[in-house]
């Protein structure tokens, strides 16, 4: 194949297959460039970069929604139904229902988030351009995390999401705690990235490919031929090291240490971004890796794509090395059977991490006096809850495909409600900070007398985080417990699933204490003698914003059919 043909085929693949499915990312990239360009022009310098970002994100949201609408099985489908699974850019990315869902979630979150930052006043006009550029850049990385299909892409996406976050953590330049937070975050992140890269190279070295579906095939081959006994240790080590990087992004114990410090030091606005967007992307990536390696995909059409672009990929040096010897077709069911050991390893790993993370997060949150630290530990605990159905879904992969789909749907639903719960909590913290100049829980004493609306909103959010009906958090928890129970009843990894179910229940009870303590301080404690009082009427810009964010927490707790249909669509990637 000569160079011209090569270029033509690459060009065709990129333009006709890949580009139409990364329109939301393209919108983000365009907005970044726009914001940067605007700064260089003196006339346009006055223009608010937040509005530019908002515009770009709205376009991205529209494209993300039209992608979700076109998914197969979607009740909103118009005419064009997209394929269930498409590999983009010669297998570096993958587009499927999970990609579409997470992108929609991220874009929807960004719209709310930008509005929230405009109301809360951080960043100011001076910092705005930096902040929004970084934020959009990080989100771009998160979108890539949700669609990564290749070890190199995973690494790059994680870095792309992390590096801007380090800078965002240091946004409050004058404050030492903020700089400290940024430095800690960066050092910790660099360490985790290094370990992860090492793990990636171990895996790639043993399996001879970085392309996730091909890795699954190689693993199946190895397992079928007994090769796992010889190189199993190295693979396990590689897997463990790679999980370090993922655990860092998820703030899973024992790689959570950055989380409370960063949340405490950085502005509440940054905390909101990290605790929602970053978490959503990380959990999507976890699903990608876990299902990519533990289940794999039917390589029928994927192979075709690879074959057509084979030489291109070789030329670019990121080729799936194995692609010549795919043809010894491993049938779907055989592959699933062969990957049983791999799945067991991954399920045990995720399950263990989930159990420890959830329990530790809840116990550590108990002693916190700073609301942002408390929310950080709450985020850690919720990362634990979020990992539970991933383990359950993977455990059911070979046994109960519907259960597997429901488990991933539970994750997707949880993320959907989590957006409103955590953004709501951080928004309230930010609004209160603007008036109280404090983020200590004690400074919220007696708040109910001056701003009853805010207290009600905070109570709704926190009770939803505990998981009590009729709020959205309850439905999420119900779905998680349901998927764990489904795994138990279909006999998949029973001991681990029983452990997770029991721990989930115990943790729900434990978490009651610290969430409720905040509400108790706000309502029952007498207001401080001196010091500031916060008076935030609900009929104001901040009040309206908080109502807008918190209302869905109630709404989705009662009318959750719609979101669940969306979540089931996302879960379709697992069945």
């Amino acid at each position: 194949m000569n160079l011209a043909a090569l270029l033509t085929s690459t060009f065709r693949d990129t333009l006709s297959t890949s580009m139409p499915l990364v329109r939301p990312e393209a919108c983000l990239a365009v907005s970044i460039v726009l914001i940067l360009l605007l700064r260089t022009l003196p006339l346009l310098k006055k223009l608010d970069s937040g509005l530019v970002a908002l515009g770009g994100v709205c376009f991205a949201l529209w494209y993300a929604w039209s992608d979700v609408r076109a998914l197969p099985g979607s009740p909103w489908a118009l005419v064009n139904v997209s394929a269930a699974r498409v590999e983009l850019f010669t297998g570096l990315l993958v587009y499927d229902s999970l990609t579409a869902y997470v992108r929609l979630l991220l874009m929807g979150f960004l719209v709310l988030y930008i509005l929230f930052t405009k109301v809360s006043g951080i960043p100011d006009h001076e910092d705005g351009a930096d902040f929004y550029t970084l934020m959009l850049g990080a989100t771009l990385g998160m979108c890539l995390m949700a669609s990564a299909n290749h070890l190199l892409m995973i690494f790059m996406a994680v870095e792309m999401a992390s590096v801007p976050s380090y800078v965002m953590a240091g946004l409050l330049k004058g404050r030492r705690t903020s700089s400290e937070a940024a430095l800690k975050y960066a050092v910790f992140g660099a360490g985790a990235a290094g370990v992860m890269l090492y793990g990636v190279s171990l895996l790639a070295g043993v399996l001879g490919t970085c392309h996730l579906p091909s890795m699954a095939l190689r693993l199946a081959d190895l397992s079928a031929s007994g090769g796992l006994e010889t190189c199993g240790i190295i693979l396990a080590l590689g897997g463990l090291m790679m999980s370090v990087g993922l655990a860092f992004k998820l703030s899973a114990v024992p790689f959570h240490f950055w989380c409370p410090d960063v949340f405490e030091g950085a502005a509440a606005e940054v905390g909101a971004f990290l605790s929602v967007a970053s978490k959503a992307a990380a959990i999507a990536l976890l699903v990608r890796v876990a299902f990519g390696l533990g289940v794999g995909v039917d390589m029928g059409d994927a192979v075709a794509v690879l074959d057509s672009s084979n030489s291109t990929a070789m030329f670019q040096g990121v080729a799936p090395l194995h692609s010549q010897k795919v043809p010894d077709v491993v049938v779907d069911s055989q592959r699933l059977v062969a990957l049983e050991d791999v799945r067991h390893f991954i399920v045990s790993l995720i399950g263990l991490l989930a159990a420890v993370t959830c329990t530790f997060g809840n116990l550590a949150a108990y002693g916190q006096t700073n609301i942002k630290r408390l929310l950080a530990y709450s985020t850690i605990a919720h990362a634990g809850y979020l990992m539970m159905p991933v383990a359950a879904g993977l455990a059911m992969a070979g046994i109960n495909p519907q259960g597997s789909q429901a488990a991933i749907a539970a994750v997707a639903f949880y993320l959907g409600t989590y957006v409103f719960m955590n953004l709501g909590a951080f928004a309230i913290v930010a609004v209160l900070r603007n008036q109280l100049r404090s983020e200590e829980i004690a400074s919220y004493a007696g708040l109910v007398r001056t701003s009853p609306g805010i207290v009600v909103a905070m109570a709704v959010v926190l009770v939803s985080l505990i998981g009590l009906p009729p709020l959205a958090g309850f439905v999420s928890k119900f779905l998680i417990f349901a998927s764990l129970y489904q795994a138990i009843s279909s006999g998949a990894e029973r001991p681990m699933m029983i452990l997770l179910l029991v721990l989930g229940g115990v943790n729900t009870v434990v978490s009651l204490f610290y969430y409720l303590r905040v509400v108790k301080v706000m309502t029952a404690d007498p207001p401080p003698e001196q010091g500031r009082h916060a008076e935030i009427p609900m009929v104001s810009l901040s009040g309206a914003m908080i109502t807008g964010i918190v209302f869905p927490v109630v709404f989705l707790g009662v009318f959750w059919s719609g979101l669940y249909v969306l979540a089931m669509l996302a879960g379709g990637m697992a069945s």
Partner: protein
């Protein structure tokens, strides 16, 4: 779809919540406290009258909404789809078990709203939470969908937490979090049981007639459609779950988890969840704290309605859905019932705090409910006399209503005194009769009702339960009869220490003003009802008995079938009844007799 019951029953449940939202909006200025009080009282009064209208037997028109006496099955069923992916429905209905409890709830809510006049702190917030609480309570009694039931069950938690935690006594925060914690543990266990039952259930196991009878079909989904769907059709429908649980080849009995049948697990988890609410020793320790710290009207609600939720749950959910486990664990339910009866009575004897004494009397009285529900005397002997069991369950139901009236009354009476003298120390009272004669007369009447004096409401339930337990276990019957003496002991002693005596020597003696008209208006209906139900219990049994009798009859027949199957198979025990065989001494004796 023509559902005449939809509007009145939905209004009954959600009117309080809607009014709560309106009060919460900043329309009414915070200073107009009396306006808020009147709005809340009017709302509860409207809800009460609505419930009475719905419960009156006269109101029946063909296919209409009124209550049909003598009809044992669910009536006025409302069915709307809610979450289709899980088959969750907005499914409400009433029968002879729930209707009296619904009316009790609305009645006590109205009286408590009137009793809330002395509340002066954050009046608006108080009534918002109060009305939300009422919606939760009514919803629990009427929902027939397990998911909906659970949602309403939890909706009650948070208002109750705040009502105790903000408007309570000195140790309110401790009491409130303890209440919340205990109940949440119970709820989590219940959620696990719900998941177990849901994922094991399958509507396809039921016959077409059964599907219609349990309201599983709707115009959109007839029996044939249900059968044509792929895979098992899980359901949250409580009636359908009960029908599945009573099938001869019940999937709940067949499935095994960690060596026990799923039925047993579900029964135990639900039982603990409900027993915490009842509360039953050893899960009762939240109750005295919560009662002592809660303000008077909330104590009335707590004792009068919230405790009944546990008994209702056991009757509506535990037994019909898990009959096998209910049969083999009858000794457990009865045993803890008798234990709390005795423990509560002895503890009440030892109390120095008036309110704490009344709280422990609740523990003791609710023990009768457990004993009555648990008596599975149908199998005492070979005759399967469902009447014996029905007697106990009827007694338990009656006891729930009677206790709702008498305990709410007792707490109110204590509250009236506390509002005046600001202490509850039994040792420092005495001579109240001289200072407040009308009040004391009413109070003594209510305390006698609690004591179980013949001619008052407390007597009927206790005597029925004791009688029926004789057939099950003579020991339990004797102990429950003995408890009556203890009850008389602590109540008479309390009356002696508080109301009798020469003169009041305790603190704030000058504040002992005669009973006000508002207080009189609350106390009189309670005393009147206590006497009415004592001399004319049939009025209540007309509602309760048909449903209870049918349930007991069905379950007794089920028991006979199971036992016959065991006997016919001779030495070969069917796998599903194997666990029952092992764990049930009663069943053993029944099998061994020729």
């Amino acid at each position: 779809m023509n559902q005449p019951a939809l509007l009145p029953f939905s209004l009954l449940v959600f009117l309080p919540a809607c009014v709560a939202l309106v009060i919460a909006l900043p329309i009414i200025p915070r200073q107009r406290e009396d306006l808020v009080r009147w709005i809340a009282l009017t709302t509860t009064a409207i809800v009460f009258m609505l419930s009475v209208w719905l419960a009156l037997p006269g109101g029946v028109t063909a296919g209409g909404v009124g209550f049909m006496l003598g009809e044992p099955d669910m009536q006025s069923v409302i069915k709307l789809p809610w979450i289709q992916s899980f088959g969750i429905e907005y499914l409400l209905g009433v029968d002879g078990i729930s209707m009296p409890l619904v009316v009790l709830t609305t009645f006590l809510s109205m009286l408590s709203a009137a009793a809330s006049w002395p509340i002066t702190k954050h009046v608006k917030a108080y009534f918002v939470l109060f009305l939300l609480l009422e919606t939760g309570m009514l919803g629990v009694f009427m929902s027939l969908d397990f998911f909906l039931f659970y949602v309403f069950w939890e909706v009650m938690l948070l208002p109750m937490y705040f009502l105790i935690g903000i408007w309570g006594g000195p140790r309110r925060e401790y009491a409130a979090i303890k209440f919340f914690l205990y109940t949440l543990v119970g709820s989590v266990l219940m959620l696990l049981a719900i998941l177990m039952l849901y994922f094991t259930s399958d509507l396809k196991l039921l016959s077409d007639e059964q599907l219609v009878a349990v309201h599983a079909v709707s115009p959109f989904m007839d029996a044939a459609t249900i059968r044509s769907l792929p895979g098992p059709q899980h359901t949250f429908n409580l009636l359908a779950l009960a029908a599945i649980g009573q099938l001869p080849e019940s999937p709940f009995a067949a499935a095994q988890i960690l060596g026990l049948s799923l039925e047993t697990w579900a029964f135990l988890l639900l039982l603990i969840g409900f027993a915490i609410k009842v509360p039953i020793v050893p899960f009762h320790t939240w109750l005295p704290d919560a009662h002592v710290e809660a303000p008077t009207p909330i104590s009335m609600i707590l004792a009068g309605v919230l405790l009944k939720l546990g008994g209702y749950g056991i009757l509506r959910i535990c037994y019909p859905i898990c009959p096998g486990a209910g049969l083999s664990l009858a000794w457990l339910v009865c045993g803890i019932g008798v234990l709390s009866m005795l423990y509560g009575a002895f503890a009440a004897l030892a109390q120095k705090d008036f309110k704490r004494m009344v709280a422990y009397s609740s523990v003791s009285h609710m023990g009768y409910v457990m004993l009555g529900l648990g008596v599975w005397s149908a199998v005492a002997g070979q005759e399967y006399r469902w009447e014996y069991w029905a007697q106990g369950v009827n007694g338990a139901m009656f006891q729930m209503i009677a206790h709702g009236i008498s305990s709410a009354g007792m707490f109110f009476m204590v509250g009236v005194l506390y509002d005046r003298v600001h202490h509850r120390n039994l040792e420092e009272f005495g001579g109240i009769f001289n200072r407040m004669p009308v009040y004391s007369g009413l109070a003594v009447a209510i305390f006698f009702a609690g004591l179980g004096l013949p001619g008052m409401c407390g007597f009927i339930g206790e005597v029925l339960v004791t009688l029926s337990s004789w057939n099950y276990s003579r020991l339990f019957a004797s102990l429950s009869a003995f408890t009556v003496i203890l009850t008389a002991g602590y109540i008479l002693w309390a009356i002696q220490r508080v109301y009798l005596g020469a003169e009041y020597k305790g603190p704030h003696g000058e504040d002992l003003v005669p009973i006000t008209r508002r207080e009189l208006a609350i106390a009189t209906p309670l005393v009147a009802l206590a006497i009415l139900f004592g001399i004319y219990p049939q009025g209540l049994f007309n509602y309760i008995s048909p449903t209870v009798n049918k349930q007991c009859q069905t379950l007794a027949a089920w028991t006979r079938d199971v036992n016959d199957a065991v006997r016919l198979n001779g030495g070969i025990i069917e796998p599903q009844s194997a666990t029952q065989q092992k764990t049930s001494p009663i069943l053993d004796s029944a099998v061994l007799q020729p």
